[in-house]
């Protein structure tokens, strides 16, 4: 490092906590990457990690992190690729220690430098500042349920601090998704905090890559209107980013999937409700004038993103104890399947109220197969649809009391013998709920720290 690069290649190694590993291995081995990014966090995954950490101080990081690093490390070291991840989740230090232990067991033939980035865990600051919860407009302290976790979305600056220290792996917690990609650009190209257009352009590239296979035809494929070749071998994307903020998105020819203007414009708008003001810790990005050009097979150039001053405050994801979800499902098939499923739902709701004291308004009844996914929108069931050959009843509820949640599961199961006729394939579960809310904290209340360790592999 030290010499300013003119172009770098960033690869998407994971787009969510449960993502596949083999596409990352393929990219690490054949992609000639400068950086490989594993985006592994959702709001619930961080809160769930905090809960695990409470009972085990060595836990709380992404359960698949070690498997991901183990699968790619020989290729990334050989190619000089730096790994950046938020898979440290609720415990980046423990994650770094576990990765060091893993690499110490391998015969890598060299020293590996690992950085852990901490500081996103802001539970103490949240209790002190006691900001308003966005969803309720009441202070955190007024929330009736126990606060389990508070993690600030930290930005690229915290990750750049780590990259400056010549590391092979950067492990952060709640770093925002596009910041994982923006940090290498800032580091390599020397972009400053006032380079708003560049930071906006880089954030756009990060946004396009952060869901990995969603850009290469995954969450796009629709047989007929949108056929995608080799979907089972879907490759993950990379971007060749230049110092002027322009980029060409690409994928390996050997992998399945496709990368076109169409896949790019779908992903540009994914989960973006204000395209002219996409807020991250780094920038208020503006995607409203982005355009795409196909420059070759599976190569698309992106231009036109820009940005304005970053938000004053950092968003904080809060996890509150949220009770228990109980659910039960059972199927009915053949003549009157829908009528029997509906009767079964009525029976369960009546019994939960009268035998178990569960109020009806806490329950959700879905008749899967009848258009229940559309939640009662007009015309959900579709027009000209005759009798359905199969309907699956699902009854669920979020309840304060675990026993009541279990009663939901139990009452569905007990339909087996108590009717209506022909119910089969009953399944049920009870799971603890962490309710996610949001609040803001002043940037000054959040201090990040980089912890370096070396391991001889």
């Amino acid at each position: 490092m030290g010499v300013s690069m003119e172009q770098i290649r960033l690869g998407a190694g994971a787009g969510f906590a449960g993502d596949r590993i083999d596409p990352a291995v393929e990219l690490a081995q054949h992609g000639e990457l400068d950086y490989l990014i594993f985006e592994c966090l959702g709001e619930r995954t961080v809160a769930a990690g905090q809960v695990r950490r409470r009972t085990d101080p060595g836990a709380g990081y992404d359960p698949l992190l070690l498997a991901r690093i183990d699968a790619v490390i020989e290729h990334t070291l050989a190619a000089g690729t730096t790994i950046v991840t938020n898979g440290g989740s609720a415990n980046p230090l423990a994650a770094a220690n576990a990765v060091a232990a893993l690499l110490g067991e391998k015969r890598l033939g060299r020293t590996v430098r690992i950085a852990a980035v901490t500081g996103d865990d802001v539970e103490a600051a949240i209790r002190e500042v006691d900001p308003l919860v966005w969803e309720t407009d009441a202070p955190v302290s007024a929330h009736p349920d126990e606060l389990l976790s508070a993690n600030a979305y930290i930005g690229a600056d915290a990750l750049v601090d780590a990259l400056k220290q010549d590391v092979d792996i950067v492990i952060a917690g709640r770093a925002s998704d596009p910041s994982l990609y923006l940090a290498p650009m800032i580091h390599e190209f020397g972009w400053g905090p006032c380079d708003h257009a560049l930071l906006g352009a880089g954030t756009c590239v990060g946004h396009l890559l952060e869901c990995a296979g969603q850009l290469t035809g995954g969450y796009f494929a629709d047989p007929g209107p949108k056929d995608v070749p080799g979907l089972a071998r879907l490759g993950f994307p990379f971007a060749d980013v230049s110092a002027d903020g322009t980029a060409v998105m690409g994928k390996l020819e050997r992998s399945g999937g496709l990368l076109t203007v169409q896949t790019c414009r779908e992903q540009l708008l994914y989960e973006v409700h204000e395209p002219h003001a996409y807020l991250t810790p780094d920038i208020t990005a503006d995607f409203s004038r982005v355009s795409f050009t196909q420059t070759g097979p599976d190569r698309v150039a992106v231009t036109g993103a820009s940005g304005r001053e970053r938000p004053d405050q950092l968003k904080v994801s809060l996890g509150f104890r949220g009770g228990w979800t109980g659910e039960g499902q059972i199927s009915y098939a053949g003549p009157r399947a829908e009528e029997r499923a509906r009767l079964a739902g009525d029976v369960v709701v009546e019994r939960l109220a009268h035998v178990h004291g569960v109020p009806e308004d806490r329950l959700t009844v879905e008749l899967i197969g009848t258009g229940s996914a559309f939640r009662g929108a007009p015309g959900s069931r579709g027009s000209d649809v005759g009798p359905l050959p199969e309907v699956r009843l699902r009854v669920s509820g979020v309840l304060d009391d675990r026993a009541q949640a279990d009663a939901v599961r139990w009452e569905v199961e007990s339909l087996y013998t108590n009717g209506p006729a022909g119910g089969g394939g009953a399944r049920g579960s009870v799971t603890e709920v962490v309710a996610i809310r949001a609040a803001s904290l002043p940037r000054e209340a959040v201090t990040t720290t980089v912890h370096i360790q070396e391991v001889r592999g």
Partner: protein, 105 residues
């Protein structure tokens, strides 16, 4: 004709809100212009609200002419979102495809 004949959707969520991008497909000549104009006329905030059985005030449309697409922001439709509702699809990812059954001229 229904919207499915001329456009695709991409659905995501943010908290309690559903975000549906509507992407007109290429015309036969490879240009999106005609389909885009048609979708801009046909898929209004009022019609989307009606199709989902929502108050018009909860639906907001943003046009994105440089990529020939538009984004609909449906506020508060997910009943607590993925962590607060017990619906099978708490994210509402399946809900976007309902829009493709919207009649268009």
């Amino acid at each position: 004709m229904i919207l499915d004949a001329i456009a695709d959707v991409r659905t995501g969520d943010k908290g309690d809100d559903l975000i549906i991008a509507v992407l007109p497909r290429d015309d036969a000549d490879g240009q999106t212009g005609h389909a885009y104009d048609q979708v801009v006329r046909a898929v209004t905030e009022e019609r989307v609200a009606q199709h989902y059985g929502l108050p018009v005030a909860t639906v907001h449309r943003t046009l994105m002419p440089t990529v020939s697409a538009m984004v609909f922001h449906l506020r508060g439709v997910l009943g607590g979102g993925v962590t607060g509702s017990s619906y099978l699809d708490g994210h509402g990812k399946t809900m976007g495809y309902h829009l493709l059954t919207l009649p268009v001229e």
